[in-house]
Symmetry: C2
């Protein structure tokens, strides 16, 4: 599937095989991960974060990161294959495996930075600069993902000034794009609007990457809508609302990709994604992860008769 050329396009990136699986105790075999990637690509998903390049001792679920990344590239030439890497070594491994985008997490909360990447925020910005220099032109796109941008369970509130300053430093360090992640799910809509607006003003709208939302407190779709209104055109989601950060106590699932696509398409945007196809992929995911509780309301309720009838065209919408 592809976008239809008549509605504004939104990029929805499936991050389940990375962010989703890192909280899952079972180790999903590479064959199942690739079947998941196949099913998502078949449903029209054009970008997927397929793995995290971290030591297997820290995260056994990701021991096959290189294998999955490489195979995803081979099987799906049209898919943008994204991988997460917390440091230079991981980024180099991701690039060698064929990742087209490498996401480097940088925490806005100093406490989360030390828990998640074992470095201060400043040292992690320097690591981004090293990654940019080492992978160089022609290498993968480097996306800095500002985690805990809307609050942290370790630190509490995160000053917006810290996030904006961090964004400026990451742009200076040479990150191609900079994304905002609500790692804990603490964001609320007015806050999303303010911070997106400030960061885009600071780094330039074209350099703004994705909005990465969690649904801990039920606000993920409200926050996505707030982002939409501020001009955000890239969102992360995890099928079945899997996910969370093992180093951020209280972090639960990502925005469910299927609910996000339902919202975005209903709002008159073009994700290029077939919602029934997503639900079929989700049904298979439930079989691969029988002990995980999947989230998401669209799967529970079914796609309503009115789907896509609410906002026929963004041109006429407010």
């Amino acid at each position: 599937m592809s976008t239809d050329g008549t509605r504004p396009v939104i990029a929805v990136r499936e991050v389940g095989p990375r962010d989703g699986l890192q909280m899952v105790k079972a180790v999903l075999p590479a064959t199942s991960k690739l079947a998941w990637i196949d099913a998502m690509a078949a449903a029209g998903v054009s970008g997927m974060e397929v793995a995290s390049f971290v030591p297997p001792s820290l995260m056994p679920q990701m021991a096959d990161a290189a294998e999955v990344t490489w195979a995803a590239r081979q099987r799906h030439p049209d898919l943008t294959v994204v991988a997460l890497a917390p440091n230079l070594r991981g980024a180099q491994n991701a690039a060698e495996a064929g990742a087209q985008v490498v996401v480097v997490p940088v925490s806005a909360s100093e406490a989360h930075s030390r828990a998640n990447v074992r470095r201060s925020r400043e040292d992690q910005v320097a690591e981004v600069a090293r990654i940019v220099a080492a992978l160089g032109p022609g290498g993968p796109r480097i996306e800095a993902g500002i985690s805990t941008a809307f609050g942290c369970s370790l630190q509490g509130a995160v000053p917006e000034d810290d996030v904006v300053r961090l964004g400026a430093a990451l742009a200076e360090a040479g990150a191609d794009t900079i994304s905002l992640a609500d790692t804990l799910g603490y964001a609320v809509p007015a806050q999303v609007k303010r911070l997106v607006r400030r960061l885009r003003a600071e780094i330039g709208a074209a350099r703004f990457g994705h909005l990465h939302l969690h649904d801990t407190l039920g606000t993920a779709l409200a926050n996505a809508y707030a982002g939409l209104e501020e001009g955000v055109r890239g969102f992360d989601g995890a099928l079945g609302g899997l996910g969370g950060c093992p180093f951020a106590p209280g972090s639960v699932g990502n925005a469910a990709t299927e609910d996000l696509v339902y919202l975005l398409e209903s709002e008159g945007f073009d994700t290029g994604i077939d919602l029934p196809g997503l639900l079929a992929a989700r049904a298979r995911l439930a079989e691969w992860l029988p002990s995980e509780r999947l989230h998401g309301r669209v799967a529970a309720a079914g796609i309503p008769r009115t789907y896509r009838h609410a906002a026929p065209s963004r041109d006429t919408a407010p």
Copy 2:
């Protein structure tokens, strides 16, 4: 609890004892309903829809409507006691029992109108006029609730023009306020904005009542935020996300009151409601309804450390 006088005020009406219980198989005894009402009032809730005045043969859960309404008035002089009534007889009974607001449902979908109140839309508008005439000045406030305003599982899409015309007819019939209900949970934010704007323009902003949202597809809080942005200052919710319409197939729970209050307070509005108090009431509700699955993310996740820190003042928010 009461509002603090420094932030803009939002009226949150708990509709669980009416909309919530009508889908519950167990009959909750009046003593438990009143304990629920007591707990909500103690948490600062200032308006509650406590009962539906329908024949017990149709809805045995509501056989004690008069008893509950009367007792709620006696016990809580500061609580606005609201009751639903589908027709003149029910409205008279509600008024006699002391209801200060009578909500009369009027469907925007002809199919739902016939299923829900066994009358055409036009005949139900005429019933509103009869209720207004019969209860007269000094009687309860008459609130027409336009149900299926954002789509219907029986009819499918509901034209916005139908909703606006119905609103005008209800104003003409003498309804004091007119509310919009997303009975099925099919609304999406841009649609909420358009319809709220059009209806308020048609009937006058002061005559606009509440936004009544269901979370069937996970969009309730996004829709609430859209309503907020359009100036809506009254919302319905049901504790634990109970609810649904027995005559609208596929309708599931209301916006969970606790999640709604979390969002509204975080956005810098003043609901007058104590969130820990709501969660305490919810814990008791779970004991009274052991076979019901309650919804809501705040109760599952706990109140985050950042609560109310996201948007310190509406004055500085966009």
